[in-house]
């Protein structure tokens, strides 16, 4: 099957390594510069200064004011603050939230809790077969009681990029605050908040080569928001807790690095991604590219293989040294199929054969070639032992949407 086993990491959407330059930026703040930024003495003031500099860096990348940056512990916390903080602060104005059916659980489950325990009504907008939200649907869903619209910038499972600027324009016209979960978007697309027409934006450090345990919520000045985590009043009363200075410094360094060389890296990733997608669709029959064919993240290659189950694909790839992930029921912690693939109308059995490969900074053309050399054999092996694999069954199931023609088996 493969002549030499390598180690290829292609699950950057799950997490990334810490860039050595980021680690270097963080190191002074553990053993020497460990002061609490709220302290009056010089050790504390120095830590505060480092944190302020980090805040300025993040604001610059977003085209925002430093006062509009709230540091959190992760993307999930940022989403919780955006959603619960807005909803509970806005109860006198209304009780309706508009979001989508393809959000990350940090948004989806927070909305579910707001609905269950706080009496909010939530509209989950549908998506088309590519996973795209229609901005007109957003406009139609907004009522006089809508207090928030939340639409993710780019989907974590299939890479589809949503029309955020258009949706933001509609939300603004209707006077409704607009949040976007941009956790998967950093390092891939512009985060300029005024181009995006957003009022709030979530980021997660460990998706762009900062450590796990730090995130950002951008909050446009004038946005009605109350804190979720209360205490000593840090982050301008929006997020209590002693600030994690080294991690904040690391996040800012990582974000700056990611967006400094953005266009070159995007071009490089797109080229690798397209080679990977083309190679898989060309060499393996009965495979479907999930997500939008062009409006997708530069690093995201997601598929559904007919007759080969997702967790098994991931385990076999692991044996070959490749790290990838799947949204199949068995592969995830939940007992059901991917809600994203379901919302996109993908056949339920086909959705069990999902595989996500997300490229990153250290991936090379050799990595792509290696994956292309091992994956067809894995799929063949699983299909040979599968009672449901019938060549061309896919055509009937998807009605001829984007699929691999491959070589006849």
């Amino acid at each position: 099957m493969s002549s030499d086993s390598r180690s290829v990491y292609m699950d950057h959407a799950a997490t990334t390594s810490v860039d050595p330059r980021v680690l270097e930026a963080m190191m002074p703040y553990f053993v020497q510069g460990y002061g609490n930024p709220s302290s009056l003495y010089r050790l504390g003031r120095a830590a505060g200064k480092a944190m302020d500099a980090a805040r300025v860096k993040v604001a610059e990348v977003l085209g925002a004011r430093p006062t509009e940056i709230v540091f959190t512990s992760c993307g999930t916390e940022s989403d919780n603050l955006a959603l619960r903080g807005t909803a509970l602060a806005s109860r006198s104005r209304g009780n309706h939230i508009v979001t989508t059916s393809v959000e990350h659980h940090a948004v989806g489950n927070t909305c579910a809790q707001l609905s269950r325990e706080f009496g909010f009504e939530v509209t989950y907008l549908p998506v088309d077969s590519a996973g795209t939200v229609n901005p007109d649907d957003v406009g139609r869903a907004i009522t006089g009681r809508t207090v928030l619209v939340s639409v993710m910038y780019a989907n974590n499972e299939v890479g589809t990029i949503e029309p955020i600027a258009e949706i933001g324009k509609i939300a603004r016209e209707r006077g409704v605050p607009f949040h976007t979960d941009a956790v998967q978007a950093a390092g891939s697309v512009s985060l300029r908040v005024n181009d995006l027409n957003v009022d709030m934006l979530s980021l997660s450090g460990h998706k762009f080569y900062a450590p796990k345990g730090v995130g950002v919520l951008y909050v446009r000045e004038g946005t009605l928001l109350q804190p979720v985590q209360t205490g000593g009043g840090q982050e301008r009363l929006m997020r209590a807790g002693t600030e994690n200075v080294p991690y904040i410094v690391g996040l800012a360094a990582a974000l700056e690095l990611a967006h400094a060389g953005l266009s070159a890296e995007v071009e490089r990733l797109c080229s690798l991604r397209d080679k990977l997608i083309g190679g898989i669709l060309g060499s393996i029959p009965d495979v479907h590219l999930t997500g939008h064919p062009t409006l997708r993240l530069p690093n995201s290659a997601s598929f559904a293989f007919w007759g080969a189950e997702g967790e098994s694909l991931v385990l076999h790839l692991d044996l070959a040294g490749v790290a990838a992930s799947s949204g199949s029921a068995c592969a995830s912690r939940e007992e059901g199929p991917s809600h994203v693939l379901e919302a996109m109308g993908l056949d339920a059995t086909l959705a069990q054969g999902s595989l996500r490969l997300t490229l990153g900074r250290e991936n090379t053309e050799q990595d792509v070639e290696y994956v292309l050399s091992v994956l067809p054999g894995i799929v063949r092996k699983l299909r040979a032992m599968s009672p449901i694999y019938v060549p061309d069954a896919l055509r009937q199931v998807t009605g001829g949407s984007v699929r691999g023609t491959g070589a006849a088996e």
């Binding site: 080969a308 912690r333 032992m385 009672p387 449901i388």
Partner: protein, 131 residues
């Protein structure tokens, strides 16, 4: 999450395939749920002479089917009929709680194949038939 034995049975599953003109055939599960299992048996002198399986499912499903097939091959019918999902899981060194339904699938598919055989050969059904 998986024991070494589960991983071994997953990467090198035993008894994969079909039997032309089987004596018993069972199919259980749902591809919509991500698992489907087929079991074929050949019976000779009241024993399982050969057993083959095919599955569309995760690591635990494939490993469970492989282990179950090994456990019943060559066994008398009524012994095979007593196979439970717990026995399969124990033989594998344990399965995560969330994956127990996979070992259940293997045992159930085997029983379905045996039941299919007994329908054609009611005289072969043991007096104390385990369900």
């Amino acid at each position: 999450m998986y024991t070494d034995l589960v991983i071994e049975h997953f990467y090198n599953p035993r008894n994969v395939g079909i039997i032309e003109n089987p004596d018993g055939y069972g199919k259980v599960g749902s591809p919509v749920c991500g698992d489907l299992m087929e079991v074929y048996v050949k019976v000779s002198n009241g024993h399982i002479a050969d057993v083959k399986f095919r599955t569309f499912g995760c690591g635990a499903a494939i490993a469970s089917a492989s282990m179950a097939s090994e456990m019943v091959k060559g066994q008398p019918l009524e012994v095979a009929g007593h196979l439970t999902d717990e026995q399969v899981a124990v033989a594998l060194g344990g399965l995560p709680e969330a994956k127990m339904h996979c070992s259940n699938l293997a045992a159930t598919a085997l029983h379905a194949a045996l039941e299919n055989y007994y329908e054609e050969h009611p005289e072969a059904r043991p007096s104390e038939q385990a369900e």
